[in-house]
């Protein structure tokens, strides 16, 4: 890929974000324009901002990668990411806005009046945000590596540095504007190359996506491996190799092969496992079945397109799909950076209208990543060998469009990807910094700067020292923790008078704790087999019901702690439309009498 264009795209996105974010827009307004200036943000722009902040590395890169590797089952992720806002709309949006809470711990304190619940909520906010930040930073590292060949940690350091800097400067001045712009940038960056991708597919004779064949190289392809890779060969084939393969070193030949121009040494690969070291270059002939990275099973087009087929080698697809759906449906409302944006709505009704628009915007966006996933199997099947399917969105424009056009499209995709990392990561960092500075450092301005470091540095360390799961999977775990802790708190807190502080505390600790333990055990064991692995890799299906049950039973057991007067106050504020409270004091009627012109 052309390095300078990619780096230019990255620099433009970062500079624009930091510039607008830190300095704000220096637009002065005379007082007569005040009503224009002060009019609350329109629901459409607010919805763009929420979507902009929400569309992270998982949406921009991860969905396409998982769909490419594991088939249509993985559509559960985009469906769930979008539909989470439906649940948010129906159950949470308006009452939460009316409650006046600014963060999730604020809501806990407002509803239950308990400092202990507030503290546990703060800890959970930090844990969820860290789990969410790690894949963002890893995505940034992967993207920068794909674009420029820089080491993995470089991209993560760039993004983390930028967002911690912005947060330490006091957060973004014009955050709604910046995030709104980011949404439209991301939509453009994924939609325009997708159009060219589909055109390329048509001009290639519309090769079948759901046929009975496994992915094959469409033409002679040289695959350069940048890390040690183990892969399975299903049918014996001869390739030309340079670098280290199966423990033997192959030097480049002086004379390029007549057939494909490769300088590699011909090597016969038998069926079974082979390992290539970092730096190896393997030239595959046209039409060869693509060897898959270890752990990934080759799937025919038909199996790939059949729901619940377990294509790609995922066990218990039915359970996994429902668990993913549950986690994403119910987890969205518990994400710290989502809730904060709702505060910008002037009232509960605007919050609902904004949510509907968010649903529309996200639905449009999520139609596009699966296109990359499907066509990636045709045009860039070597990603199944390197295992870097998460880069499909970045490399496909370059592969399908030759010349300058392809480079420009690739730069656009890079810009979109960095917009995704920066907007989500900065939203998360600011949210965590707000919570940490308020609950640990007693809310001074200097405390906020310190808190920004606390929010940004641990995930950076984790992201640079670990290899990590596929981006969308890692994000799914953060959703599972949110769904098993904050979802019960919000839903029961808003719709059930009987919730008590003790019950909420028990539910948060049980649900959030179990989900967090599942996340840790999954990372410890790596991908496993059988039911225990499935239960731990997608924990939401059991941790969410446990959290709800513990919270409800705990509340029923401690019923005596409810103070009716306090619950009445909060419930009235959350559920009564603002107009009802305002009606007691109607504005002065504007009598529209035309001014009398007195003669004389």
């Amino acid at each position: 890929m052309n390095q300078s264009l990619g780096i230019a795209a990255l620099v433009v996105v970062l500079a624009a974000t930091i510039g607008v974010g830190v300095y704000g827009l220096r637009l002065s307004r005379a007082t007569s324009d005040f009503y224009v200036a002060s009019r609350e943000v329109s629901p459409l722009w607010n919805a763009s901002a929420i979507s902009g902040e929400y569309l992270s590395a998982a949406s921009f890169l991860g969905v396409a990668g998982l769909v490419m590797a594991y088939g249509v089952d993985m559509l559960a992720y985009p469906v769930g990411y979008a539909a989470g806002y439906l649940v948010l709309l129906l159950l949470v949006a308006a009452p939460l806005r009316r409650s006046g809470a600014y963060t999730l711990p604020d809501f806990a304190e407002e509803r239950l009046g308990s400092a202990a619940v507030r503290r546990v909520a703060s800890v959970l906010v930090a844990v969820i945000a860290w789990l969410y930040l790690v894949p963002q930073l890893q995505g940034a590292g992967l993207t920068l590596q794909t674009v420029t060949g820089a080491p993995r940690w470089a991209g993560a350091v760039v993004v983390a540095g930028a967002v911690v800097g912005v947060s330490a400067a006091g957060g973004m001045r014009s955050v709604t504007l910046v995030q709104g712009l980011h949404f439209w940038l991301k939509l453009t960056a994924i939609a325009v190359p997708a159009v060219f991708l589909v055109l390329a597919w048509r001009s290639a004779g519309s090769p079948a996506l759901t046929g009975d064949d496994v992915p094959r190289f469409p033409h002679a392809t040289v695959v350069a491996l940048d890390q040690r890779t183990t892969f399975d060969v299903t049918a014996p084939l001869t390739i030309r190799a340079t670098g280290e393969l199966d423990g033997r070193s192959y030097a480049a030949t002086a004379v390029p092969s007549r057939r494909d121009g490769s300088t590699g040494v011909p090597v016969r690969l038998g069926r079974g496992e082979h390992t290539a070291a970092a730096g190896a270059r393997l030239a595959f002939p046209k039409g060869a079945a693509v060897p898959h990275r270890k752990g990934l099973r080759p799937a025919t087009g038909a199996a790939w397109a059949r729901p619940l087929s377990g294509a790609g080698g995922r066990a218990h697809p039915l359970y996994a799909v429902y668990s993913i759906l549950l986690a994403t449906f119910l987890g969205t409302m518990g994400l710290p950076h989502v809730l904060v944006r709702f505060y910008t709505n002037p009232d509960g009704r605007a919050a609902r209208r904004t949510t509907v628009l968010v649903l529309v915007l996200l639905s449009v966006f999520y139609l596009l990543p699966p296109v990359y996933g499907a066509l990636g199997r045709v045009f860039a099947p070597q990603l199944l060998l390197t295992g870097q399917t998460d880069t499909a969105v970045l490399v496909l424009p370059q592969i399908t469009q030759a010349g300058e056009a392809g480079r420009l499209l690739a730069a656009l995709a890079t810009a979109g990807a960095f917009a995704a990392f920066v907007s989500t990561a900065s939203g998360l960092t600011v949210s965590v910094a707000a919570v940490v500075s308020q609950d640990l450092l007693k809310g001074s301005a200097r405390g906020f700067r310190l808190a920004s470091l606390v929010a940004g540095v641990p995930p950076l360390v984790m992201a640079t020292t670990t290899a990590g799961l596929p981006v969308a999977d890692a994000i799914g775990l953060a959703f599972a923790v949110a769904a098993s802790s904050f979802c019960p708190l919000l839903v029961l807190g808003i719709w059930w008078r009987g919730l008590t502080d003790r019950g909420a505390l028990a539910g948060l600790v049980a649900g959030g704790g179990l989900a967090a333990v599942a996340v840790v055990v999954t990372s410890v064991r790596g991908p496993g087999h059988g039911w225990s692995a499935a239960l731990l890799e997608e924990p939401a299906a059991w941790t969410v019901p446990i959290a709800f049950a513990v919270m409800a039973i705990g509340s029923l057991l401690t019923r005596h702690r409810i103070s009716d007067a306090a619950v009445d106050r909060v419930m009235v504020r959350m559920h009564l439309p603002e107009e009802v409270t305002a009606q007691a004091y109607p504005p002065v009627p504007q009598v529209d009498v035309p001014p009398q012109t007195t003669g004389g």
Binding site: G24, L27, S28, R29, A30, T31, F34, Y35, S38, E40, V41, G100, A101, Y102, T103, D106, E109, E110, G113, A116, V123, A126, V127, G170, G171, M172, R173, V175, T176, T344, N345, P346, A433, A434, S437, G443, S444, A445, F448, P458, M462, T465, T466, A467, V509, G513, A516, V517, V520, S523, V524, G526, R573, A584, Y585, P587, V588, P595, Q596, T597
Partner: protein, 393 residues
């Protein structure tokens, strides 16, 4: 790579869990000799009983406090009597609760501790631990507001003494509650005083400015009168201690339009408002005095045209609002005196705004004034976006 992920994520989660546990259990460790522990238990019961008592005497607070007071005294049963009614009965022997008010009558009339004789209480049940009582009246500011009745099998001199001491402690808490209440009343009164205080100069100036337009530009005059009416309605509203920043800014805008009718092109205003902070709850009428100060004391004496800049920004978990003018500036000593409440009649309520902000958000949230003679003035306030109990109405 995998073991590294494992170790790190395990470390992360374990650290988070440990931090949570530490928060929850710190301060509950045992210590010292039995005497230390007894003292600790006593102080702990007292500290648990204090918060409800600080709300004043009502059935809810009495019920919560009675539990801890009984633990403090170690008696079988205890009753809290309010003004002629039983507020709470803690402990067994509930059938005596009906006569508790009767038992307390003598002590409340006499205004001093009273031992109720066993004959007056005896219910004939030999196992009943409620056999005799000592009643201590609760006297706050010279008024008997209630009584504390301590029931036991047998009243000893020690118990009478202990009951007296506990009642004293309860009285001191109730006096503090009274103090809190009067402080709140004082702040409310000040707020009312500030509301009524749309400055007379401003009313006079606005009306003369409007009058000057009546013949030359009736439309403009009508507009201004409506603005004036709206401004008065907002300023004189009687409900709610808090308002949203958006409403405050609207009111400031009306105020500035009226001032511009008078100053004309001499007064220029810039507004830099981040839409994210518009819903923040701020104390009612906290901005207008700042703007009025900028207009009257900053730009009023200035012969050339002046500029006022109003900013509202998102600053982490706070919202930062500033009012800046390039007028003649103020004497820092005079500002200090105004903020200390010694400004005299000409003070435009800066001190009042400062005090209300401190009362609601704590001492770190007062006004920050940057000024010098001839250098303009900038006044900044920081308001948290969320504070429990603070809601715009």
């Amino acid at each position: 790579m995998a073991p590294l992920i494992t170790t790190l994520s395990a470390a992360l989660v374990i650290a988070a869990a440990a931090a949570a546990l530490f928060w929850l259990v710190r301060g509950r460790r045992g210590f010292g000799t039995p005497a230390d522990r007894a003292a600790f238990a006593t102080l702990h019961s007292a500290s648990l009983a204090a918060p409800p008592l600080r709300e004043g005497l009502n059935p809810d607070s009495a019920r919560t406090a009675a539990k801890h007071l009984r633990a403090l005294l170690g008696t079988p049963a205890l009753a809290v009597i309010g003004d002629g009614t039983l507020l709470a009965w803690e402990g067994p022997g509930r059938r005596h609760a009906a006569q508790a008010v009767e038992h307390a009558k003598d002590a409340m009339e006499a205004g001093r501790p009273w031992v109720v004789p066993a004959e007056a209480i005896d219910c004939g049940d030999l196992d009943c631990p409620v056999r005799s009582a000592v009643v201590v009246p609760l006297v706050v500011d010279g008024l008997v507001v209630g009584a504390l009745s301590v029931y036991a099998r047998q009243i000893s001199a020690g118990l009478v003494r202990a009951a007296g001491e506990v009642a004293h402690w309860v009285i001191s808490q109730l006096e503090l509650a009274e103090l809190d209440r009067s402080r709140t009343l004082l702040i409310e009164a000040e707020l009312r005083a500030l509301r009524a205080q749309i400055s007379p100069h401003f009313v006079y100036n606005s009306l003369t400015a409007i009058a000057s337009f009546v013949r030359t530009d009736p439309d403009q005059a009508r507009e201004l009168l409506l603005e004036f009416a709206e401004l008065t309605r907002y300023s004189l509203r009687r409900h709610g201690e808090f308002s949203t920043l958006a409403e405050e800014l609207h009111s400031v805008d009306r105020y500035l339009r009226l001032e511009r009718a008078r100053f004309g092109a001499r007064l220029r205003v810039d507004l830099l408002i981040a839409p994210e902070v518009l819903p923040v709850a701020v104390p009612f009428l906290c901005l207008q005095p700042l703007v009025e100060n900028a207009v009257r004391h900053g730009l009023g004496p200035k012969p050339t045209s002046g500029r006022i800049t109003i900013r509202a920004e998102d600053a982490g978990s706070d919202c930062r609002i500033s009012v800046e003018d390039d007028g003649v500036g103020m004497d820092p000593e005079q500002v200090r005196a105004q903020l200390a409440g010694k400004g005299g009649g000409e003070s435009l309520g800066l001190g009042n705004v400062d005090e209300r902000l401190r009362a609601v958000f704590g001492d770190d949230s007062g006004l920050v004034v940057e000024t010098a003679k001839g250098a303009g003035t900038k006044i900044t306030i920081r308001v948290p976006k969320y504070r429990s109990g603070v809601h715009a109405q």
